[in-house]
């Protein structure tokens, strides 16, 4: 079952073509990593997939529902706001900078959206939120505020916040890039645990060893195009494209 399908997507900022005819699809339970040099359009792709940016062209489909559909000229035509609001409930996004709400306690960060947006029962949500925090090793931080936590703890809260919405697919945009090196491991472990539980995920990362271990499929992007894609073994161990080899050579010591 396809959770996400993006066909022939295009996006430009001014004169800059950031996404040039990108297509990808993500099956249920699949973990897809996107790698590539900075500026290659990885974040823009995630931001378009999560409706933070609008595509110029192409299709954006979640579980068969079109968030955007290309017209006969290939231009993306978006669904009505009500429809998009429903489609939005399919995905969650974990940001590089966490973007926790600083004025809310950890528990409220995790609980508010399910109660407010999804109108779920508050007691139930609280139980689930505490369970998620336990899973993240943060049960004793439920009443703390984000500023009292380390970067790694904040990122775990933001993962719990995203999971509390019960998304069908979770996007990560460089989830460890804002962390001190000694804290990246704890986040990578959380994501690996999620992969073991068959969470469907799309992960933009510069951690090559991690990407190789956790992913079912890897996409290498450069200059707004997909240069090479395939299994981790194909893309990371046996790349065929020069640009991929050159990029990976910078991570040799991994």
């Amino acid at each position: 079952m396809k959770i996400l399908e993006i066909n022939n997507s295009r996006k430009h900022f001014g004169d800059l073509e950031v996404l040039k005819d990108i297509s990808l699809s993500v099956e249920k339970n699949q973990v897809v990593s996107i790698i590539g040099p900075s500026g290659s359009g990885k974040s823009t792709l995630l931001r378009c997939a999560t409706l933070l940016e609008t595509l110029d062209g192409g299709d954006l489909i979640y579980l068969g529902d079109y968030a955007a559909k290309a017209d006969e000229n290939g231009n993306a035509v978006y669904a009505a706001p009500e429809e998009l609001k429903k489609i939005k409930m399919n995905f969650g996004l974990v940001f590089q900078n966490f973007n926790l709400f600083p004025h809310y306690s950890v528990l409220k960060n995790v609980m508010e959206a399910p109660v407010l947006v999804q109108k779920r029962n508050k007691d139930e949500v609280k139980e689930e939120a505490m369970e998620l925090l336990r899973k993240m090793g943060l049960e004793d931080k439920a009443d703390a505020y984000p500023f009292q936590l380390s970067g790694g703890q904040q990122q775990r809260v933001s993962i719990a916040r995203a999971l509390a919405m019960k998304p069908n697919i979770l996007f990560f945009d460089e989830p460890t890039s804002a962390l001190d090196p000694e804290l990246t491991g704890e986040i990578l472990k959380v994501i690996k645990d999620l992969a073991a539980e068959h969470m469907t995920m799309v992960i933009v990362t510069h951690e090559m060893a991690f990407a190789r271990d956790v992913s079912d499929y890897i996409i290498f992007m450069d200059g707004g195009v997909i240069v090479e894609e395939g299994t981790p073994d194909q893309v990371i161990n046996h790349p065929t494209q020069e640009r991929t080899k050159l990029f990976l050579s910078r991570f040799k010591n991994d």
């Binding site: 999560t50 409706l51 933070l52 609001k85 939005k88 409930m89 995905f91 969650g92 996004l93 940001f95 900078n97 973007n99 926790l100 709400f101 600083p102 004025h103 508010e112 959206a113 407010l116 947006v117 999804q118 505020y145 984000p146 500023f147 916040r161 919405m165």
Partner: protein, 215 residues
């Protein structure tokens, strides 16, 4: 005139000064928010109207603005402005302070990181939920020191109502001092403004302290 009679006359003025203060805040704090939204509007006309409004009201003396607000209906339409004095005082102060608050709000709103809006958007918050639950509480914390400054200035500015001969404490002190050739009313008025401001500063500090639970 005995001190107690003097004090009881002045106390009427003190109540009126507090009235100007409270009503001005009551109306200008929300109006300032509307002006701030207009100032940040994507619509060029609305934005420029707000920009000119803010610029003129911050760029001319409040005393002059009070006179314009009070006398304009008479000069423009020969309206009877007999019963309009108090309303003119409140209107003048409100229009002026809304301009200052608008700029404070604008700075406060712009200081909330884009990531806060994006996180809320992905979680499915509506625009108004995002504003009232995520943005506004952070704005309030950000702007409290600047608002405190304005509020303290307002306490002292209430004395400008004398320009419209509104009988608040300063106007009365001046009249009594002149009639009695006595310096005491000024001292009393001075103590009043000072104590008022110490109270205001205390309250604002308490509110700022309440917001200290997060960073």
């Amino acid at each position: 005139m005995s001190l107690s009679i003097m004090l009881s006359q002045l106390s009427v003025g003190m109540v009126r000064a507090v009235g100007i203060f409270a009503l001005t805040l009551l109306f200008s704090l929300p109006l300032g928010m509307l002006v701030a939204f207009a100032r940040m509007s994507k619509n060029g006309i609305i934005k420029n109207i707000a920009r000119v409004y803010i610029s003129v009201l911050r760029g001319t003396p409040l005393m002059l603005q009070l006179l314009v607000v009070y006398f304009a209906p008479f000069y423009l339409w020969h309206a009877n402005i007999g019963g309009y004095r108090f309303a003119a005082v409140i209107l003048g102060f409100t229009l002026n302070y809304a301009a200052y608050f608008a700029e404070i709000y604008r700075g406060g709103i712009q200081s909330v990181p884009q990531g806060q809006y994006e996180a809320a958007q992905v979680l499915g918050y509506s625009k108004s939920q995002t504003f009232f639950r995520i943005v506004l509480p952070q704005v309030v914390k950000n702007i409290l020191p600047a608002v405190t400054n304005e509020v303290i200035t307002l306490v002292k500015d209430t004395s400008l109502a004398f320009a419209l001969a509104y009988q608040e404490v300063f106007t009365l002190a001046k009249q009594i001092a002149a009639a009695q050739t006595n310096f005491i009313p000024f001292v009393v008025a001075g103590i009043f403004y000072y104590v008022f401001n110490v109270l205001v500063a205390f309250v604002m500090e308490r509110i700022e302290h309440k917001m200290d639970y997060y960073r």
